[in-house]
């Protein structure tokens, strides 16, 4: 695993120790180490609970998408992870360091774009970045100018680098913020709504940058309310709703868990359900046919059963919901009460009821 190699090299060069090649063994092939984790995290702002009992893991080398409607606690989570805000309760660990107390150890290795880009309007993009670079602990004074130039290049702002920030478009401002997060090679990059204000081309570029980061072994935490964005860039997802985690895990597992079902089109739906239930396969009527739960069975078995009972099958296909459906199901469950088919899955789904 390349991320582990990077750490091993880092450890050897800085501390002269030969590092073990594997960390704590993760379950079911998940990355073995975490770049960030929270336990029992809670934040109360003047009586309003922003985040409550959140246990979140950011696996090393992953691109973790933090999803949630506005006001679901995404930014508060990020601010606590970065040590900007002290949690009311619970623990935060960033790169193995307790936050916010060990911010001086962890943060130099973390790049962040939080709550939109913050820069001074009367300075040019380059001057703004030079000011940011001056405060970067891991940047040698002689290397700041080059680092700034490279970061500007990377986000496609070289051409506008010497224009005043005041005159930047929303997208250019966002890119400059991204450049600030990428000034130094990082272990973790935290991006809060990075594609806000970007046009489709800009959004693609951000995705490209996130992809590059992942390839070079950098872990990424992206918050977004745009589902398509998360689906396109992330390997892992954590879904927040009203300040609690309603689901987290790898994107694939989450998508599958949302739809372990087979849709069978048949003119003879009633007898199809009858036949399947007799075979102890959960099924129910759906528009144009039946919906069969695939948790305990295979599509081929289902079709075979139906044919054996003489039910005409026009079409059978896996119900393939996108993240959008999963998301809607997870975040609406609270309001409507548990939906009949929203059974929390055994591995990844953890309903956190407050």
């Amino acid at each position: 695993m390349s991320a582990t190699d990077i750490h091993a090299r880092g450890a050897t060069s800085t501390r002269g120790e030969v590092a073990p090649t594997s960390g704590g063994a993760g379950a079911d092939g998940a990355p073995s180490a975490l770049v960030a984790r929270t336990r029992g995290l809670r934040k109360v702002y003047r009586g309003a609970v922003a985040v409550d009992s959140v246990d979140m893991d950011v696996p090393e080398g992953a691109v973790l998408g933090m999803l949630g409607p506005n006001g679901s606690g995404k930014t508060t989570m990020i601010r606590m992870l970065l040590g900007l805000v002290r949690p009311t309760e619970g623990e935060v660990e960033l790169l193995g360091q307790p936050m916010p107390d060990a911010a001086g150890r962890a943060l130099p290795h973390v790049g962040a774009l939080v709550e939109g880009p913050g820069f001074h309007p009367f300075l040019s993009g380059r001057e703004n970045l030079l000011r940011v670079a001056a405060a970067e602990p891991l940047l040698a004074t002689s290397g700041t100018r080059d680092a700034v130039g490279a970061a500007l290049e990377r986000v496609g702002l070289s051409g506008a680098a010497d224009r005043k920030y005041r005159g930047y478009s929303l997208g250019m401002k966002q890119r400059l913020g991204l450049a600030g997060a990428l000034l130094v090679p990082r272990k973790l990059v935290v991006l809060d709504e990075p594609t806000n204000g970007l046009d489709p081309a800009g959004t693609r570029e951000v995705r490209g940058i996130i992809g590059e980061l992942r390839e070079s072994g950098v872990s990424v935490l992206v918050s977004s309310h745009l589902l398509a964005e998360v689906e396109a860039t992330c390997t892992h997802v954590v879904v927040l709703h009203e300040g609690t985690v309603v689901a987290q895990g790898s994107l694939d597992t989450l998508l599958d868990s949302g739809s372990p079902a087979l849709l069978v089109s048949t003119p003879d739906a009633e007898s199809a359900v009858e036949a399947l239930r007799r075979n102890r396969t959960p099924a129910r009527l759906a528009p144009g046919g039946v919906r069969v739960d695939l948790t305990a069975t295979e599509p081929s078995t289902v079709v075979e059963t139906l044919v054996r009972y003489g039910v005409a099958v026009d079409e059978a296909r896996r119900e393939r919901t996108g993240l959008e459906d999963v998301f809607a199901r997870l975040t609406q469950a609270d309001a409507d009460g548990p939906a009949p088919d929203a059974e929390p899955d055994h591995v990844v789904m953890r309903e956190v009821s407050s």
Binding site: A19, L84, A135
Partner: protein, 290 residues
Amino acid sequence: MTTVDTLAAGWRPTRAAAPFTRLVWSELRWIFRRPRTLVVLGILGAIPVIIGLSVHLSGSADGGPPGGEAPLFVTFASSALALPVGTLSVTLMFLLPLTVAMVGADAIAGEQSHGTLRGWLLAPVTRGRLLTVKALGVAVAALVAVTLMTLTGVVTGFVLGGTDGLFTLSGTSLTVAEALGRIGITISWVAVQLFAVGAVALAISTFTEHPMVVVAGILAGDILFGVLLMLTAVDWLHPFLLTVSWTTALPDVLRDPIPTGTLTEGALRAGCYMLIGLSIAYARLTAKDG
């Protein structure tokens, strides 16, 4: 919570921080690149020239050495000593405190409003260090403002009055070196007073993200102190007011020999304001959410 299993390969980040001098330089570049700062400094630098010229042209100061204690303004025009000292004592009422308040307002409240304060904290720069850098920035800005005014005042005085007009209010005359020594004392004393204002501005700055609130606060305080100083009913309060020695201390520099009482007392009072202002700023900055 154990930290052992959270990162592969036993990698442990070591504490790191950007060099302090680099932070200070970056801060100073930021303060003096700001168009607003430059405009205000330009105005401050022009004031001694304007005062000197207008008094000189009105001809009120065309006389020999004043006999006995003459009003401050009369000795202005033809003296490279009295002009800068007089101008500083006039601008110390409002203009100079406002300048420092502006810099103190931008230092924390202004950064907060632009979302750039978070950048410092994420780098990370510890909050104590951040306050030190900010306080140094305000101190340097105060010193630069005072020095600039003094310089243009001295130059104007020399041009208008030559090196002969270096009279004290007591009627004695000084050598150029002695005069420069007294100018040095003036610069330091005024800068210390202004830094006390700056420390209070920094304290207010940590409570708001609107720089205007800081400037208005300092202005209001300045006026309030002025009013209180006129009320004899509250004269027990006067020793606690920063501005109490502002009008009386500076003319002392022009006497021979210099009476040190008011100057020393004023400097000590400023020191107390600095201590209180910076302590409040530190307490507030370390407690606030980023």
